[in-house]
């Protein structure tokens, strides 16, 4: 394959095929073992498991060993030709160790624009801005533009000012319950003062100047900044709210900004948060401080909103309060307007109270805020119109959905009426202890639709009306806050996950692709819940408790209260660490193994490396399969005798053919390989394998000859279609007409181990037609719940984590698809025909191909 390492020197030895196959299986086994370890770690993020830091470190050590063993196995298979994989592995291991030690918050950029923050940056931007960066992706929510001065900058500041040793000593004191209060206080005060007067680390001022210059000034005049704390762990514990400093109306120039930055950073060591940490979070530190700098909204009105009434968090009302000017008056408890609205559209106003707003806070010319009197006409006038109230309510409900719990939101409306979200954090609700005690009894009073059944994908509690999904099209109408109920899980649910209160399916596993996505979106999710579809109907309100695996009829107010009052432990240090580790090992950069650019430099994670190893091992097998001398000498290749002219040669590794199968011309009945049999069954399905010769035009033929890669995979198998099979495995490489197709599938009892890998390339027509066929195949694969990538006329589809019966059904359909699309690109005269043929296939109208 082009782009692969071209091995020079003597041709590889022709080992006995049995030995090669045995080694190939060993590579697969080690690879799978490593992938299982990754999947296991991912599963722990769902909240259904109890794990500790020791588990994370142990798992990493085991994973590292497994990846190395996999590399060794590949080298054994392929004559030690992959020594270059070891240093790559070492590089990734070192990177991972840095993540595990929490050191990655010390590496990376000094500044990050809010819009550029991705999950991999979460360690660098602190809790508050990781969260803001996440919500600013939502199309409804607008967050003022800005950037974050990262924890890397904080560490540089600490180093540049020689404070590292003092901070380490301070953290040591904080983690000890018996530390002398006077000693803690003395060191705390010293650090606070030193940071307030700190000199900038190298490069920081220049970076700040550059970012400020890049922020276009909206409207007229210079703009000012809001500079806010974003400490690690700030969103872990609700009460950190307000303990660190924030500065408003900071002039947007480098020197003032750096001074404000120092003030905010120094508040890490101000008395309230330090006392708080000593009391409630011993041993959680050290915390680094990131600082967010955003354009200051020139607010006409601003305030806070609660997505639930703190006194009745299970109810159906939300609360908005606001005042003229910047929202400090509301936060500080000054006179304000307050409104109570229904939580569901059209957000009807339930009650309102207008305060006597005599003064408001506004940006002062010299920086900071100043108080100004409110004109008499405005004092007793509500600061929000009904439309503005409804618009704020819609955003608050959306934010509650994203946070998976009630939220406390700071909002502002600018002088032109635009609504911005300044902050969103969990709403602090204190549940009276008596209520907590009474919870089990209170829950007994509700009707349970399901109890103790199903598997937890993501823990949590969600309530809402049932929305049934039976096809991807249904997702277009998915309403905010509904509970998605479906027969089987699908990664396509990702489109609506962030708006779903919960997800429940009858079929599914906690290690599917959808499960991973659910955990990323933190949507409460139960799968494998028997006959739930019989127990619910559309629109019916239900409450899903994906902690105790119960589904209740109606909205259980007590559970909503419980949810609002319990700590979000998924924001704890261990969850954050495991989440970062899993991201680092499982991120996949090598998405197109068939494309030319597959190089070792692209291996940026263990997952990439494992995929690379897999590809190399398959290539080796293909190479052996191609070498007729090896195959024939060992008498391992047998022809298949099928009623269709598919011309398939079979290499049986282990149990793929019946023991009594003839040495040649093996009939279909003797195929015992589960996945291979399923594919063949599909190919043999009446009508799927059309026999008509397509009208190939002269130009079609010419272009196919011109575009055939001379030494590419396409040209290798002249005359041979080869299936390497075992009882539960198939690797089928074949050429029909002018296209090249691989199906690699593993199918046995453990759903997690199962996978299907499908790739398709080439065709005898011009690129437009070939691309149409690629699109057609992609469309069909997507309908079959494959994860699909298309590039030109290359299609790569992946599916997995399916139970055996689902695997067989899907492979059968792939067999039909192979037959169906064999020569179809010649027919694909327009883009409209893609949909036409896709629909025909999905409806089972295979004979559409033979019709003109």
């Amino acid at each position: 394959m082009a782009g692969r390492p071209q091995h020079s020197g003597p041709a590889p030895a022709c080992h006995p095929v049995r030995l090669v196959l045995e080694r190939f299986r060993r590579v697969l086994a080690h690879n799978n073992h490593a992938l299982e370890l990754i999947a296991d770690m991912g599963e722990k993020l769902g909240g259904d498991f109890l794990f500790d830091q020791r588990y994370i470190l142990d798992s990493l050590a085991r994973l590292t060993a497994a990846v190395r063993t996999s590399i060794e196995a590949l080298n054994e298979l392929d004559d030690q030709r992959h020594q270059e994989l070891f240093p790559v592995c070492d590089r990734l291991t070192a990177q991972l160790r840095a993540v595990a030690a929490g050191r990655e918050e010390r590496e990376g950029p000094l500044l990050l624009p809010l819009a550029a923050i991705r999950p991999r940056h979460w360690g660098l931007v602190g809790g508050k801005f990781a969260h803001l960066a996440e919500i600013c992706r939502d199309e409804l929510v607008r967050v003022p533009e800005g950037f974050v001065v990262t924890t890397r900058a904080y560490h540089d500041l600490v180093e540049a000012n020689g404070l590292r040793e003092a901070i380490d000593r301070f953290e040591g004191l904080l983690s000890r319950a018996d530390a002398e209060a006077a000693e803690v206080e003395e060191l705390r005060g010293r650090l606070e003062t030193a940071l307030r007067q700190a000199s900038p680390p190298p490069g920081l001022l220049a970076a700040l100047a550059e970012q400020l210059a890049a922020m276009p000034a909206a409207g007229q005049g210079p703009f000012a900044l809001a500079v806010r704390s974003s400490a690690e762990g700030e969103d872990l514990e609700l009460s950190f709210a307000g303990l660190y400093r924030s500065l408003l109306n900071v002039p947007a120039e480098t020197e003032s900004l750096f001074q404000a930055y120092r003030e905010v950073v120094a508040s890490l060591f101000s008395p309230p948060p330090v006392q708080y940490r000593r009391r409630l979070l011993p041993g959680e530190g050290p915390f680094a401080m990131a600082v967010g700098c955003q354009r200051l909204i020139e607010a006409a009105a601003s305030g806070v909103a609660y997505s639930a009434d703190p006194l009745a968090p299970g109810g159906s009302a939300l609360i908005v309060s606001g005042s003229w000017g910047l929202g400090e008056a509301v936060v500080a408890g000054g006179p304000a307007d307050s409104f109570r609205l229904e939580k569901t559209p059209p957000f009807r106003l339930l009650a309102s109270q207008t305060g006597d707003k005599r003064a408001g806070r506004y940006p002062a010319p010299a920086g900071g805020l100043e108080e100004r009197p409110i004109p008499p006409a405005d004092r007793n006038r509500p600061c929000l119109t009904p439309d503005q109230l409804a618009a704020i309510a819609a955003r608050v409900v959306r934010l509650e959905n994203l946070a998976r719990r009630p939220v406390d939101v700071e909002w502002a409306i600018d002088t032109r009426g635009g609504i911005s979200i300044l902050q969103a954090r969990p709403l602090l609700v204190r549940e009276p202890e008596a209520d907590a005690r009474a919870l089990p009894a209170a829950l007994d009073a509700y009707e349970q639709l399901s109890s103790g059944q199903g598997k937890v994908v993501q823990q949590g509690i969600g309530a809402g009306p049932v929305f049934l999904v039976s096809s991807q099209g249904d997702l277009q109408h998915f309403p905010d806050g509904a509970v998605l109920v479906s027969r089987r899980d699908s990664p396509s649910f990702a489109r609506v996950m962030h708006r779903a209160a919960a997800i429940v399916t009858e079929i599914g596993t906690p290690v599917s692709h959808m499960a991973t996505l659910c955990r990323e979106a933190r949507v409460p999710c139960l799968v494998d819940v028997p006959s739930i579809l019989d127990k619910v109907r559309p629109g019916m309100e239900i409450t899903v408790d994906a902690e105790d695996r119960r589904i209740y009829r109606g909205r259980v107010a007590e559970l909503a209260t419980y949810r609002a009052a319990s700590l979000n432990l998924e924001a704890s240090r261990e969850f954050r660490l495991l989440r970062r580790v899993v991201k680092t090992v499982s991120r996949l950069h090598l998405l197109d193994p068939l494309l030319r650019e597959l190089t070792l430099e692209d291996c940026q994670s263990y997952h990439d490396l494992l995929r690379y190893i897999h590809e190399m091992a398959v290539s080796k097998l293909v190479e052996v399969g191609r070498d007729e001398r090896c195959l024939l000498r060992d008498h391992l290749v047998r022809r298949l005798d099928l009623p269709i002219p598919a011309g398939i040669l079979v290499i049986d590794i282990d149990g793929g053919l019946a023991p009594e199968a003839p040495p040649d011309q093996v009939p279909f009945a003797a195929v015992t390989s589960v996945p291979f049999r399923a594919i063949l069954q599909g190919m043999l399905f009446p009508g799927a394998w059309h026999r008509e010769t397509m009208p190939v035009g002269f130009m079609d033929l010419v272009s196919s000859m011109v575009n055939m890669p001379p030494n590419g995979l396409v040209g290798q198998y002249t005359g041979h279609n080869i299936a390497v099979i075992s009882r539960d495995y198939v690797n089928l490489c074949f050429r029909f007409g002018y296209h090249f197709n691989i199906i690699d599938a593993h199918c046995h009892e453990v759903a997690r181990d199962n996978h299907i890998y499908f790739r398709f390339l080439g065709g005898a027509t011009d690129l437009t037609k070939k691309s149409r066929r690629a699109k057609l195949i992609a469309l069909i694969l997507e309908a079959l719940d494959f994860k699909v990538r298309v590039k030109g006329d290359l299609v790569i589809g992946r599916a997995g984590n399916m139970v055996r019966s689902e695997m067989e059904r899907t492979l059968d359909l792939l067999g039909r698809l192979v037959g169906f699309t064999r020569q179809l690109d010649v027919r694909l005269e327009s883009d409209a025909s893609i949909d036409h043929y896709a629909r025909a296939f999905l409806l089972g109208n295979y004979d559409v191909v033979s019709k003109p």
């Binding site: 722990k44 259904d48 498991f49 109890l50 794990f51 500790d52 830091q53 020791r54 588990y55 142990d58 011993p282 041993g283 959680e284 907590a436 005690r437 919870l439 089990p440 009894a441 902690e547 105790d548 695996r549 419980y562 319990s566 700590l567 432990l569 704890s572 240090r573 261990e574």
Partner: protein, 137 residues
């Protein structure tokens, strides 16, 4: 969930990693149990001296007093209290030693919370028979 003396069932958790106690506190409080959490064995046993606990969940490998020691002390001072050992170093040997010293159950970390819930409920049901205001679900 309450015991025969009309008080809630009491659960004591000892694990040197704070996350374990925090999570178990949440899980078992929701079931109506009274939960006390410690990161070291000494203070945990001191708490036991003040009031009885029905079940103790303890880690095995801890600095200072380890889980086997906690087990031995609990068995000596309060034979009715059930001890469940949770540990990341699940080896046959340790499990056997723990059982021979009277551990009620042995669960390897990481585990599904359901698994521990079931073990705790079994331990509570295992109480000597007597009138009770509430039975475990």
């Amino acid at each position: 969930m309450t015991s025969e003396k009309s008080r809630p069932f009491r659960l004591l958790v000892v694990d040197d990693e704070p996350i374990v106690g925090r999570r178990l506190q949440q899980v078992f409080s929701k079931l109506g149990l009274e939960v006390a959490v410690f990161t070291r064995g000494g203070p945990a046993l001191a708490a036991m001296a003040e009031r009885p606990f029905d079940v103790v969940v303890t880690d095995l490998k801890m600095e200072g007093m380890d889980g086997m020691e906690v087990l031995a002390q609990v068995r000596r001072r309060s034979p009715r209290t059930k001890v469940i050992i949770i540990t990341g170093y699940a080896e046959q040997e340790t499990a056997r030693a723990a059982f021979s010293q009277g551990a009620f159950a042995f669960i390897a970390k990481p585990f599904r919370l359901d698994e521990l819930k079931r073990a705790v409920l079994r331990a509570l049901e295992d109480e000597p028979a007597g009138p009770r205001n509430g039975a475990p679900p």
